[in-house]
Amino acid sequence: MKLFLQEQISLFVLNVLQLSFIILLLWLDGFHELQKLVYPIFFSFFLLLLYLCYRYLTNRTFYERLSTPVQSINTFNRKVQSSPLSQSLGKLLKDQSERYRKELQSYKDQLDQHIQFINQWVHQMKTPLAVIDLILQNLQNKEAGEISYELDRLKKGLDLVLYTSRLSVFDRDFFVEKLNLESIVRTVTSDLKRLFIRKKLFPQFQLEPSLTVTSDEKWLSFVVMQIVINSVRYSPKDSKILFRSFHRGKTTVLEVIDSGVGIPASDLPRVFDAHFTGQNGRNFHESTGMGLFLVQKICQNLSHQVEIKSIVSKGTTVRISF
């Protein structure tokens, strides 16, 4: 409405000027009975008012659309009235939205293809890893042990790539069920046993055996694994990594507590940023900076909360609330 009125001000002013001019001419011509003019003036304004009403009603959507901010792509597909301005704007917006939709679709297709390629590639890479693993299982000597350790690193690296690419299409492989928290943690620590042994660290469990959470097994295991890999990486030899789980009111909580180098307070607010490695990254040269970013994104998708507390040289606690 406001836009409409603003626009019509000039028409209104023109009308007033026109009338004034006609009255002036008549006056100069000798016509002095102004009372007779009241009715025509009134009538003229009445006509103007009718016209304005008609204008407004036939172009209402047009003005509305111009005054409301764009919320989404679908704003472009509302119904249009039959007045020429409305129709033109409608067509213009529709054309624009089609064009953008096509471009968006082509990017979506590219993304899909890319993800498919990554999936195929990672799975193909796992076959030679399986072959090497089997050969090493037959060897069972010191060198085989060292190669096994590096093989684990390769496998974890591949998993990192796989999960990162799956993150953008999270809802395609997402299966929620009731899971036993203790068994998830134990399976993850068991998968990482070579890492623990190599770094001379051991897990300590204070887990309530009956605690269950509602989540997706693969994604949750991946999250816990990333957290544990971090803890192990930054902990000194012969220390322990403590796993605690408990109820807190309505929520179930899992904590992973290490006594490692800790995270400086200045870095703490940014640890969940992608590609952020901070002081520790610079000192330890091992980080991609993606671990905690993935942890947070996945937890968001699963509706879990993740928090991190840390004191330099004392240790770090990562807490997941379900």
Binding site: V131, N141, G145, R186, I197
Partner: protein, 234 residues
């Protein structure tokens, strides 16, 4: 009775490793080389169990599974790198009985095969081949969990058997503590440096019971070594 296993996998190296492994445990194997002939070979070999990969030439594993199911009800185990829940559910929907993800463990694979054979064909003690390691008269039976020498037998706990298995496979060589830890680490057991010490002590006790005192030596800073002292004893 010898059980027959039909292996469908297109990676040659993996195929040969699996074949060697299964043959070692007394299975008769058939490895598919020509995928055009697959069903013909399947029909003539009449396997008791099938190991099937998913990523295959011509058709994928799911399709082969469906076709094999039309012919036989034998257990089919999928082996694949694909580990998403959807893949596993699909495998089971297509008629498979189990799913193993790559990379996989020999022991777990063997255990699964045995369990499915047992379920499909009755008792598996019909399996002619038990897991036995024999070295100059010292016999370790991994299925019965016993250690025998000169007609004396001691019973072993699972972990003790694992330690002896590792040491006997590397007889007279040093087995590192790290290797032992990795081997005895188990989802359920609480494992740390001290646990290993406790188990080593237990193994030594068992060896003592067989009058083989001192066979398991500690090598400072490296690990342990099982020396075949029983070769000298008459």
């Amino acid at each position: 009775m010898t059980f027959k296993v039909f292996i469908v996998e297109d990676d040659e190296m993996l195929l040969s490793l699996l074949e060697k492994f299964l043959q070692k445990y007394g299975f008769e194997t058939f490895c598919v080389k020509n995928f055009d002939q697959l069903l013909i070979d399947f029909r003539s070999f009449q396997p008791h169990l099938v190991l099937l990969d998913i990523n295959l030439p011509k058709y994928d594993g799911y399709e082969w599974c469906k076709q094999m199911r039309n012919i036989s009800k034998c257990p089919i185990i999928f082996i694949s790198a694909r580990d998403s829940k959807m893949d596993q559910v699909m495998a089971l929907e297509y008629g498979a009985d189990d799913f193993i993800t790559k990379p996989f463990d020999y022991e777990i694979t063997l255990a699964k095969i045995k369990s499915h054979l047992r379920r499909a064909y009755g008792t598996y003690s019909a399996l002619s081949h038990q897991r036995i390691i024999e070295l100059d008269g010292l016999q370790l039976n991994l299925d019965r969990l016993t250690l025998t020498w000169k007609s004396n037998t001691v019973e072993l706990r699972n972990t003790e058997a694992k330690i002896l298995d590792l040491c006997m496979k590397q007889i007279d060589c040093i087995v590192s503590r790290d290797q032992l830890l990795e081997n005895i680490w188990d989802d359920q057991a609480f494992v740390d440096e001290n646990t290993l010490n406790v188990y080593i002590r237990r193994v030594r006790n068992k060896l003592d019971q067989l009058h083989l005192n001192g066979a398991l030596q500690t090598i400072r800073g490296e690990g342990y070594r099982l020396t075949p002292i029983w070769r000298e004893i008459i």
